[in-house]
């Protein structure tokens, strides 16, 4: 019982302590190893001497000491830096309560900007963020990405090596770069979330975990960089999507479309939190794509029944989104919203233009959306053909089962 309590405590303190250690040692691996040793020591010392008043400070001090030990053992020829020598001098007995100035907040932010540096490949950014800031093990990250553990390990090694060898600084970017770099950080967090959200099969619990970790990272940004409207927008967006998790798939794993979802199981607290965050962000008067997407999600969440959905407003928001972040997938969503707001014909005409442009060739959701509108219009033959086209392209089993179900209902 006590071991579990300590485990949880350590897990909670890990990002802060580790971030500080990485800054202090300038070495990801050394920091992680020293932290592991400190945790082992905590598991031994805490049950005997009781929990320290400030576990984070305890772990930081002991980790630093272990880091110094490791450095001395590995490179006895290299003299220690003065800051480290100072620390050695001031350190007392291991079981006494160390007092350390809390400089940890900035370190977590520094770590976030470092691991999300655009000079690292997106997959490496995701893996590093999960490893360092969320404390997932390499095995857990591998399972979440459905890749062999060796691949993930290799990715982490390469990314850490690039940080060290290319000289990626451990710092929060200067004011003039912040907006551009924050965009990168937010998109990495959203990538983590989508990896967790888009799949409904495989190791589903670890997938749900990815969503939770992305939300945790989103909270971290909102907490450490207050006043950033798009950071609030992204957190709101993730909370509002995640609130619908329980209703997204049927017990047999078939995808359930929004209009058929059981809205009574949606997470009200998450919706409330997301809505409040979104309002706060929007009030700052700096609109952006995450806020717009969150606003769309909020309109869906707000409708107690599908027919109460404010489609005109959603269509207008997709129009705005299309102007800021143009792209064929946004356009497809805009067309679908227009169909719901102003009738299927208007949406179908738009989708036909999209189809002719060829930009979504091979994307199953285009024929699937067309099939849905044709079905609503009672144009059964054409709907059937469109479902067949979608089924030829779809890869995800949950979506395939849904499309097959719809096609079956047309008989």
């Amino acid at each position: 019982m006590l071991t579990r309590a300590i485990d949880e405590l350590v897990r909670r303190e890990r990002p802060q302590v580790l971030a500080g250690l990485i800054r202090w040692t300038g070495d990801f691996d050394l920091a992680e190893e020293a932290f592991q040793l400190a945790c082992a020591q905590a598991l031994e010392a805490w049950p005997r001497h009781g929990l320290p008043r400030r576990p984070g400070a305890w772990l930081t001090t002991v980790s630093r000491r272990r880091a110094v030990d490791l450095m001395r053992r590995r490179r006895p020829d290299v003299p220690l830096e003065p800051a480290m020598l100072d620390l050695l001098g001031t350190m007392g007995a291991e079981d006494t309560e160390p007092e350390l100035p809390p400089e940890v907040e900035d370190d977590r932010l520094r770590l976030l900007f470092t691991v999300c540096h655009p000079a690292l490949a997106p997959a490496a950014q995701v893996a590093l963020a999960l490893r360092t800031l969320c404390g997932l093990t390499t095995a857990e990250i591998a399972r979440a990405h459905l890749e062999p553990e060796a691949t993930t390990a290799q990715r982490l090694v390469r990314a850490k090596r690039k940080i060290a060898e290319a000289g990626i600084p451990f710092e929060v970017p200067p004011a003039e770069r912040l907006a551009e770099r924050l965009e990168g950080v937010l998109s990495t967090i959203y990538l983590v979330f989508n990896e967790g959200f888009s799949a409904t099969e495989g190791d589903s619990w670890i997938r749900a975990d990815l969503c939770a970790e992305a939300i945790r990272l989103g909270r971290l940004v909102v907490e450490l960089l207050p006043g950033e409207a798009e950071a609030e927008g992204l957190l709101a967006l993730m909370l509002l999507h995640d609130a619908r998790r329980a209703s997204r798939t049927a017990t047999d794993g078939t995808l359930v479309p929004l209009e058929e979802q059981d809205r009574t199981v949606w997470d009200r607290a998450a919706i409330e939190e997301g809505t409040v965050l979104l309002d706060r962000g929007v009030a700052r008067g700096r609109p952006g794509p995450y806020q717009m997407q969150a606003a769309i999600a909020a309109l869906h969440a707000r409708a107690a029944r599908p027919e109460e959905t404010d489609w005109a407003q959603i269509a207008a928001l997709y129009g705005a989104l299309l102007r800021t972040t143009p792209g064929p997938i946004v356009e497809l969503n805009a067309a679908a919203a227009v169909a719901m707001a102003h009738g299927p014909e208007a949406g179908l005409a738009w989708m036909e233009r999209l189809e002719r442009s060829g930009t979504l060739a091979g994307y199953h959701l285009l024929p699937a959306a067309q099939a849905d509108l044709l079905r609503r219009l009672g144009r059964t033959g054409e709907a059937r053909a469109a479902y067949a086209r979608a089924l030829a392209l779809v890869r995800h089993p949950a979506e395939r089962r849904f499309l097959e179900r719809r096609l079956g209902e047309l008989e």
Binding site: A119, E165, A166, G167, I168, P169, R177
Partner: protein, 118 residues
């Protein structure tokens, strides 16, 4: 840390530039080089002659093979380089972004191994 800033661009579009555009580009590069020098980060660099002047050498089985042309035929070619010394990658990328060719070509930034020659 020392970084090499490799400037890649399309030789084809450069060779078809008007005289005034060429003069304009050289003026921009002159200014850029001066800025690097003024900031105290410049360690060297040069424009290169076109890849049509390149030769590639390989020694295989003790035998020297010389071929005409660059190591690899690519859409964009190496046109020049700078060697700079700055605190970290972020600073190197800032300088790379200021390079005149960053607007129409690509700039590759790479650290020198172990700090470069002493």
């Amino acid at each position: 840390m020392e970084y090499i800033v490799l400037i890649y661009g399309s030789e084809k579009s450069w060779s078809s530039m008007s005289k005034t555009d060429v003069e304009q580009m050289y003026a921009e590069y002159k200014k850029y080089s001066e800025e690097l020098a003024k900031a105290g980060v410049m360690r060297g660099g040069s424009e290169l002659k076109p890849t049509s002047t390149a030769s590639t050498v390989r020694v295989r089985g003790g035998k020297r093979q010389v071929t005409d042309g660059p190591f690899a035929e690519t859409k964009e070619q190496l046109a020049g380089f700078y060697l700079i010394e700055v605190p970290n990658l972020e600073a190197a990328l800032d300088w790379a972004a200021k390079c005149p060719s960053s607007r129409d070509g690509s700039i590759e930034v790479r650290p020198l191994a172990s700090g470069g020659p002493a």
